[in-house]
C-alpha cells in the first residue's frame, strides 16, 4: 500500500503518524522561536543597566517566551509523541478519532499563529502581561492595547486544541489496546499520556473560564477582577493556578514517561517497580489538583491556608521521589549503554532532582516569601522544565527518531548536542539560584550594578549562548540525517515495546496483523513472529473538514480583537459548516 504524497495529502491527513510529524515540526519551530526570545532576554541581562532592549519589548519577550514554551513548544512536542508513538505502543492502527486529531493540530497551529501575529503588526503589540497574566495588570484600564487580547484569545484557541487531544487520547488508550494489552501491561509512556490527557481535559476548562472573565472585563466592561466594583484580582490567581499547577504536571509527566521507556531499553532491564511508577504518576496527577495556592504564598491567604498548601505540596515530593528511586533501581545491575537518548534520560534524573529539591525549599511558605518572584524561582522551574521536560523530550527525539524517519541521528553529533545542552543548561540556570537569593527579582528588564550580580548574570548569558549553539548542532544533525543517517531497521535499540516490532518508518496501517500481547516487555519475552502477508487493510481517506472547522476559531477570535460583532457569526458559521461536513462525510444531510 503506497502512501499518498503532495501538499493535499498533508493538509487533509488523518494519519496519526503524519499528524505527529506536523505537531513535531510546528512545535519545534516554536521551540526555536521561544529559545530566540530567551536569547534576547539573556542579551539584555548580560550586563546591568543595559539599554539593548526597551522595557516594553522586554516585557513582551518574557511574556511570549513563557507562553510559547509552555503552550506552543513543550506541550505540543509531547503531543507529537502522543500522536506518533502511543498508537504504535498499544498496538492500534490509529487514534480513536482521527479527524478530531487533525482538528486538534490545526487548532493548535492557528492559535499559535494567531497569538504570534501580534509581533507583525505595527509597533508589535505582542502580549506583555506575563505568561501568568495577573489581573489587574491585564485589565483594559492598565493595558488598553490589543496585547492582552492577542494573548487571551490565542490561549483560548490553544486550549481547545488541548481539550480535543485529551479526549482523543483517553479513548485511544483505554479503548484501542491490542488484545492482551491489559492496563498493567501498558508501556509507561502511554500510561503517562493517559494521566496527562485526564489533566488536560480537567485543567483547561478552568483557565477557559478565567479567560472568559478577563475577556468580558476587557470587552464588555464587567468587573470580575476589578476591586472598585467588589471584584477581586485574586480570583484570577486562584483560577489560573488551579489550571496552572496541573499544567505543570501536564508538562512533566510525558517526559517522565519517555525516560521510563529509554532507561529500561538502554539498561537492558525492565523498569523497576512498574506498578509503583505507574501509580505514583497517577497519584501525582491527582495531588497536582490540591497544591495550587503554593504559587500564591505571598498573596496573604492566612497561616492556615498556607500551612495546608505547604503540606500538600511537600506530600507530592513523595511519589516524585519514589519515581526517581525506581529509575535508579532500573539502572542498578543493568548493562548501561550511553547512547545520546540515554544521556538525555540520565540528564533528566540528574537535573530534575535539583529542580525537585529547590521546589521543596519553596514549598515552605516563609522561605518562599524570600524566594518567590526572584531568579531563584526562575532557576527552579527551568531545572524542572528544561532539565526535566526538555531533557526527557530530547531523549524521546533521539530514541524515536529512527522509528519516525527510518534513519538514526548521528550519535557523535548527538553527544556534542547533549554536552552543550547539559553544560549550557547548568551554566545558564544554576547561577540563577544564587542571583535570586541575592535579591534580583524576575521579570525586570534592567537591574542595578549595585546588586552585585553582574558577573553571575553574564555567566547565565554565556550559558544561554551555549544552549543556542547546542540547538544549532541538533538542527544540523537532523538535516544531515535525512541523507546520511544510518538506516535504522525496525528495532535499532533493542527496545521491548510494540513500536519496535514494525518497520521504521511504519507502514500507513502500522501493523500488518494486530499483535497479541502477553507481557510488559513483549519484544524481550517473545520475539515477533514473521507476520503473515497482509490482506487488504482499509485506511480511511483524509478530510478537509477538520481544518475548515479549525479555521472558524481564529476568525471568531477576530471579533473581540477588532470589536466587530458580525465577525463572530462568520467564524461560527465556518466552524459549524466544518463540523457538519465532517460529521456527515461524505456529505449527505
Amino acid at each position: 500500500m503506497s502512501e499518498p504524497t503532495g501538499l493535499k495529502s498533508w493538509l487533509t491527513t488523518t494519519d496519526h503518524k503524519r499528524i505527529g510529524k506536523l505537531y513535531f515540526w510546528t512545535a519545534f519551530v516554536f521551540f526555536l522561536l521561544g529559545g530566540f526570545e530567551a536569547l534576547l532576554i539573556r542579551a539584555q541581562l548580560a550586563k546591568p543597566d543595559n539599554t539593548l532592549i526597551s522595557a516594553d519589548t522586554y516585557n513582551q519577550l518574557f511574556t511570549m517566551h513563557g507562553t510559547t514554551m509552555v503552550f506552543m513548544a513543550l506541550m505540543p512536542l509531547a503531543a507529537a509523541f502522543f500522536n506518533y508513538i502511543v498508537p504504535l505502543q498499544i498496538g492500534a492502527r490509529d487514534v480513536a478519532f482521527p479527524r478530531l486529531n487533525a482538528f486538534s493540530y490545526w487548532v493548535f497551529l492557528l492559535g499559535a499563529l494567531f497569538m504570534n501575529a501580534s509581533w507583525l503588526l505595527p509597533h508589535h503589540p505582542a502580549p506583555d502581561g506575563g505568561w501568568f497574566g495577573y489581573a489587574t495588570l491585564t485589565e483594559k484600564q492598565f493595558n488598553p492595547g490589543p496585547n492582552i487580547d492577542f494573548w487571551l484569545l490565542g490561549l483560548q484557541i490553544l486550549g481547545i486544541a488541548s481539550l480535543a487531544a485529551g479526549f482523543n487520547f483517553i479513548v485511544t488508550i483505554l479503548n484501542l489496546r491490542a488484545p492482551g494489552m491489559k492496563m498493567m501491561r501498558l508501556p509507561v509512556f502511554s500510561w503517562m499520556t493517559l494521566v496527562t490527557s485526564f489533566l488536560m481535559i480537567t485543567a483547561f476548562p478552568v483557565i477557559t473560564v478565567a479567560l472568559v472573565f478577563l475577556m468580558f472585563d476587557r470587552v464588555f466592561g464587567t468587573h470580575f477582577y476589578l476591586p472598585q466594583a467588589g471584584g477581586d484580582p485574586v480570583l484570577w490567581q486562584h483560577l489560573f493556578w488551579l489550571f496552572g499547577h496541573p499544567e505543570v504536571y501536564i508538562l512533566i509527566l510525558p517526559a517522565m514517561g519517555v525516560i521510563s521507556e529509554v532507561l529500561p531499553t538502554f539498561s537492558r532491564k525492565p523498569l523497576f517497580g512498574y506498578t509503583v511508577v505507574v501509580y505514583s504518576g497517577v497519584l501525582i496527577g491527582f495531588m497536582g489538583w490540591g497544591v495550587w495556592s503554593h504559587h500564591m504564598f505571598s498573596v496573604g491567604l492566612g497561616p492556615i491556608a498556607d500551612s495546608v498548601f505547604a503540606l500538600t505540596t511537600m506530600l507530592i515530593a513523595i511519589p516524585t521521589g519514589v519515581k526517581i528511586f525506581n529509575w535508579l533501581a532500573t539502572l542498578w545491575g543493568g548493562q548501561i549503554r550511553l547512547t545520546t537518548a540515554m544521556c538525555f534520560a540520565l540528564g533528566f534524573i540528574a537535573l530534575f532532582t535539583i529542580g525537585g529539591l529547590s521546589g521543596v525549599t519553596h514549598a515552605a511558605p516563609p522561605a518562599d516569601l524570600q524566594q518567590t518572584d526572584t531568579y531563584y524561582v526562575v532557576a527552579h522551574f527551568h531545572y524542572v522544565l528544561f532539565g526535566g521536560t526538555m531533557m526527557g523530550l530530547f531523549a524521546g527525539m533521539y530514541y524515536w527518531w529512527p522509528k519516525m524517519t527510518g534513519r538514526l541521528l548521528s550519535e557523535r553529533l548527538g553527544l556534542v548536542h547533549f554536552w552543550l545542552m547539559f553544560i549550557g543548561m547548568n551554566l545558564t540556570f544554576f547561577p540563577m539560584h544564587l542571583i535570586g537569593l541575592l535579591g534580583m527579582p524576575r521579570r525586570i528588564y534592567t537591574y542595578s550594578h549595585d546588586l552585585g550580580v553582574d558577573s553571575m548574570n553574564l555567566l547565565c548569558s554565556i550559558g544561554a549562548a551555549m544552549l543556542g549553539l547546542g540547538m544549532v548542532v541538533f538542527v544540523y544533525n537532523m538535516w544531515r540525517t535525512r541523507r546520511h543517517g544510518a538506516v535504522a531497521g525496525p528495532n535499532p535499540w533493542g527496545g521491548a515495546t510494540l513500536e519496535w516490532s514494525i518497520p521504521s518508518p511504519p507502514p500507513v496501517h502500522n501493523f500488518d496483523v494486530i499483535p497479541t500481547v502477553t507481557s510488559r516487555v513483549p519484544l524481550w519475552d517473545a520475539p515477533p513472529k514473521p507476520a503473515p502477508p497482509p490482506g487488504h487493510i482499509h485506511v480511511p481517506a483524509g478530510s478537509w473538514w477538520p481544518m475548515v472547522a479549525a479555521a472558524g476559531l481564529p476568525v471568531m477570535a477576530l471579533a473581540p480583537l477588532t470589536h466587530t460583532v458580525w465577525i463572530v457569526f462568520v467564524g461560527a458559521a465556518i466552524l459549524l459548516f466544518g463540523i457538519y461536513r465532517w460529521a456527515f462525510e461524505p456529505f449527505e444531510v
Binding site: F213, G230, L239
Partner: protein, 195 residues
C-alpha cells in the same frame, strides 16, 4: 454519522464515541464548576444593586425549568423510539426536545431582557457579571443542543436516521441530560438558595 474507528473492537467493550463523550462531560463539569464557584464566591459582594432578591422571578423560571425537565423526558422517549425502530415517534419526540429547548431559550431571552430593563445589566454589579455569564453559558449549551436535535430530526425526516444510529441519538441524549442536570444545579443555587 460515519465514525469508522467507533465500529472497531474496543478494549473496554464500550463504544469509543460514548467514552469520549463521557470524558467531554467530565470536562464540562469543571467548566460549569468554575462558573458556579465564581458565582458563589462573589455572592453578596456586589457594591450596588440590584440584588438577586429584587430581580429573580422564581415562578417564571420554575416554568422554564419544568419545561427543560420535560424535554429530558422526551429525550428518553426519543431514544427508546429510535432503539426499537419506531421512527414515527422518534421524529415526534426529537422535535419535542428541540421545541422544549427552544422554549427554554425563549424564557431566558425574556428573563434577560426584563432584568436589563430593571437595571441588572452585565456591567451593573458583580451579581450581573456572574449571573449572566453562568446562565448565558448554560443557554449557549442549550442552543447547541437545540441545533443538534433539529439536525437529528431533519435526518429522521429524510429517512437517514434509523435504529442503527441509536448510539448517535444516545450521545445527543447524554448531552441533553447533562445540560439539564446542570440547570437543576444552577436553578437550586442561584434561584432557590439566593442570598
Amino acid at each position: 454519522m460515519t465514525h469508522a474507528a467507533a465500529t472497531h473492537h474496543t478494549s473496554m467493550g464500550l463504544d469509543s464515541r460514548k467514552m469520549g463523550f463521557w470524558a467531554f462531560i467530565g470536562s464540562e463539569c469543571l467548566l460549569f464548576g468554575s462558573l458556579i464557584s465564581t458565582y458563589l464566591v462573589y455572592q453578596g459582594r456586589s457594591v450596588s444593586g440590584p440584588t438577586p432578591a429584587e430581580i429573580l422571578n422564581i415562578p417564571v423560571t420554575s416554568i422554564s425549568t419544568f419545561d427543560l425537565l420535560m424535554s429530558s423526558l422526551w429525550m428518553v422517549l426519543a431514544l427508546a423510539a429510535v432503539q426499537r425502530g419506531d421512527m414515527k415517534w422518534a421524529k415526534v419526540w426529537l422535535l419535542g426536545v428541540a421545541i422544549g429547548g427552544a422554549i427554554f431559550i425563549g424564557f431566558q431571552v425574556y428573563e434577560f431582557t426584563s432584568f436589563v430593563r430593571e437595571g441588572l445589566t452585565l456591567q451593573a454589579n458583580l451579581f450581573g457579571c456572574t449571573f449572566f455569564i453562568l446562565t448565558g453559558t448554560h443557554g449557549a449549551h442549550v442552543t447547541v443542543g437545540v441545533l443538534w436535535m433539529l439536525t437529528l430530526w431533519y435526518r429522521a425526516m429524510r429517512g437517514k436516521l434509523g435504529p442503527e444510529h441509536a448510539m448517535t441519538v444516545e450521545i445527543a441524549g447524554l448531552y441533553w441530560h447533562f445540560v439539564d442536570v446542570v440547570w437543576i444545579v444552577i436553578f437550586t443555587l442561584v434561584y432557590l438558595l439566593h442570598k
